[in-house]
Amino acid sequence: MQKVVCETEVDIKNADGLHMRPAMQFVDVASQFDCDITVSNNENTVDGKSIMQISMLAATCGTRLRIKAEGPDAQEALDALRELVEDKHFDEPTPKEKKKQ
């Protein structure tokens, strides 16, 4: 089987950042795929399928994360995670939307 490695960068856009509920959403999506997924900020690289490790990133709004996936469905995984983080921003308001509330 061909080894597929994909990488991308995403920005955290929801005002409250990657707190526990978004972290759980992230792990839920990541866990739907067979590939290995790691997530890095400037300091740490953690397992994208571990809720404790993702919570440890403490990614605030505006943080850029690097996601790396290794395995046959790597590209699909990255597409799904990008959609969750950047397009849906975890179904939470961005700072602008929060001000309007």
Partner: protein
């Protein structure tokens, strides 16, 4: 952020009396209230708010630990209590296993970044098996305080 920056060492409970989730939350919030960390007349409201949050999604992250939390206007600074249960408590944890160590966190409203920094510190340590084991073994408030201060000083613990 370090444990000593937000854990109220007067509100650590080496053996929770409570045997269920809601009881444990009430015991820990009351303990913060007794330590005068919550302002007057907020204890019941905060207990209800934490339980409500917990019902939306369990903070039992697996491996015997739970981190119930809520954002509440009653506090100006982040404050946490720690409770242990040798019997184990059902928190509807992700791995369906009982919870032996509970870190309860109350964060002020309008400062999401501070909340994330506290969580970062908590999980940095909780994900280590050695730390979880040491925490579970604590039998007095002093032992809990010593362990958390040692973890602050020595991140590789």
């Amino acid at each position: 952020m370090k444990f000593a920056d937000f854990v109220c060492f007067k509100a650590v409970i080496p053996e929770l009396k409570a045997t269920d989730r809601d009881g444990a939350i009430a015991e820990l919030v009351s303990s913060l209230d007794k330590a005068r960390k919550l302002g007057k007349g907020n204890c019941e409201k905060i207990i209800k708010a934490v339980i409500k949050r917990e019902k939306e999604a369990s903070t039992g992250m697996g491996k015997g630990v739970a981190v119930p939390h809520v954002k509440h206007s009653a506090v100006k600074n982040i404050v946490a209590a720690v409770g242990l249960s040798s019997r184990g408590i059902d928190f509807s944890a992700l791995d369906k296993q009982p919870v032996y160590s509970v870190i309860l966190l109350i964060s002020p409203e309008g400062n999401p970044d501070k909340h994330l920094q506290a969580m970062e510190n908590i999980f940095k340590h909780l994900q280590k098996e050695r730390f979880r084991k040491f925490l579970r073994q604590c039998q007095t408030p002093e032992q809990i305080e010593d362990l958390l201060r040692e973890a602050d000083e020595n991140p590789s613990l």
